[in-house]
Amino acid sequence: MFSQIALGTMEQGLMYAIMVLGVYLTYRILDYADLSVDGSFTLGAATATSMIVGGTDPWLATGMAFIAGTLAGLFTGILHTKFKITPLLSGILTMTALYSINLRVMGRANISLLGSRTVFTDFAKFPFMEEYGVFVLCLISVVCLGAVIYFFLQTELGLALRATGDNELMIRSLGVNTDLMKILGLSLSNGLVAFAGSYVAQKLQFADASMGIGMIIAGLASVIIGEVLIGTSSIGRAIFAVICGGVIYRAIIAVVLQLGLEATDLKLITAFIVIIALVSPNIRRSLSSLLKGIQGKEAQ
């Protein structure tokens, strides 16, 4: 029983970690709070499920979910860079528009995949994968995507993207079109988020028009948890941190549910995690100095 819950939590955590990687790209690398995430998560789920129901190969459908997400990010990016709409409002506009688009894509408020082929049912056919297939596939996906992002951020293009989030004036004076960088970052980010959405829907065998609500806050909470617990001293470490943050966030949610809270209270709890993290950016420093103080007293 316990190990079942633990395994389920790990699987979920790894899927959501893909979404968290996307949020990390915008929120930390580009320094852009992108609210389109709520819509593009559902977009990924809607695209994959409706294509699978329509008879498309689930792997191809998952790839298409990624592409649909990049288009959503592209839209947000154009709103912001070409039409000079603020980052927050650009995201909200995309999120709102996507709500209708997602309903169009699905044709109804929800789709069931019960009995359909998914990437997970396919993967379960490999030897020894009957029980741990979901976990292994999610792990492989997260590790591969994390590695790709890690290497990408060390390329010339990746450096330009990071510099756009760090010091836009400077990198523009070095000849980089920062508008393009923002569009690129937003596209990649939303692609990852939609990819995660398609995984979640295939695991749950279910997509729902409102399944992305609150996703951005969950993503931010995960990024912050990971950074506080693991640190950000290098890009590699930061990527590892946000992946872990995604898993730990899911674990916290699972524990809270086991303690008897209603699933409907989750968003409140998530919001509180983010608020606590935001109002005390020095939380880690004060924690560590507190710990030192206690140790110091014990030594005396």
Partner: protein
């Protein structure tokens, strides 16, 4: 080399805050010119540099470099010709990135950014040699984040970044003003060395009148968006600071606001 013809720039047009920052200003720079720029606060010095670098488009007038019209070219497309160092040491580098990452971005100034590993051993070796010349020990700290450096170190690094890939025009906006006097001297010395060695055409804003007369080969003075004085050669060599202030008063009909000026 640089040809600025009657450029006009008005901020907040049509509001009560309307301000003519550049008033049909003209200026010509010749190859290897090192021009120092002085003028009281708000004279339009920074705005002139911003206009040349393309932070905004001028309302009218023309800007050309080596006969190529760049008036309507966005800033990122002028980057292969122009490099800059700002007053604020924080503004010239990306703090969260390492020294070598900052250097490689500058090394590729004006070039297309590709999907290939940014830094190789060849570049690293080059950076070490260049950093060693700064004499700040940064050559052993290639993978340190720039946020760990002092203001002076960051400014020296920014200067190196600006000249790593030889620009046609180097723009310096009071780039030593935020540093302590000793560090400022050091950065100025580096500036002189590099402009001489690389034969750079340079425009340097300074609020230090002594520096304005000792560095470079030509000095211009700005007032209310115009160049009101342009001296070089023997006239400049015989110039004293009090002469300079006198000429300012004659040319502008106003007292120079010397609050921020360093007169000696």
């Amino acid at each position: 080399m640089l040809n600025v013809r009657e450029i006009l720039k008005t901020f907040n047009l049509g509001t009560i805050n309307q301000k003519i920052a550049l008033n049909k200003l003209s200026l010509e720079l010749f190859p290897n010119d090192f021009v120092t720029v002085i003028g009281s606060n708000g004279a339009g010095k920074s705005t002139l540099l911003n206009a040349i670098a393309g932070n905004f488009f001028v309302d009218s007038g023309k800007i050309a470099i080596e006969n190529a019209d760049i008036t309507r070219l966005p800033a990122h497309k002028r980057a292969d010709m122009i490099s800059r160092v700002f007053q604020d040491p924080l503004s010239g580098t990306a703090a969260s990135m390492t020294i070598e990452e900052n250097l490689i971005m500058a090394y590729r100034r004006g070039k297309t950014r590709r999907l290939r590993p940014a830094i190789g051993t060849k570049e690293r070796d080059l950076f070490r040699v260049k950093l060693e010349k700064l004499g700040l020990g940064l050559e052993n700290r290639l993978t340190h984040r720039v946020s760990l450096l002092s203001g002076g170190q960051r400014q020296a690094l920014t200067l190196l970044m600006a000249t790593l890939q030889k620009p046609k025009l180097l723009l310096l906006d009071e780039h030593t003003a935020a540093l302590d006097p000793k560090t400022a001297e050091k950065v100025l010395e580096l500036t002189c060395n590099v402009t001489e060695q690389e034969h750079l055409t340079t425009l340097m804003i300074t609020h230090n009148l002594d520096h304005a007369l000792t560095f470079g080969n030509r000095t211009i003075m700005m007032h209310e968006g115009r160049v009101i004085l342009d001296i070089k050669g023997t006239e400049r060599n015989n110039m004293t600071i009090s002469n300079l202030l006198e000429m300012f008063e004659k040319a502008s009909g106003a007292h120079m606001n010397t609050d921020r000026m360093i007169l000696a």
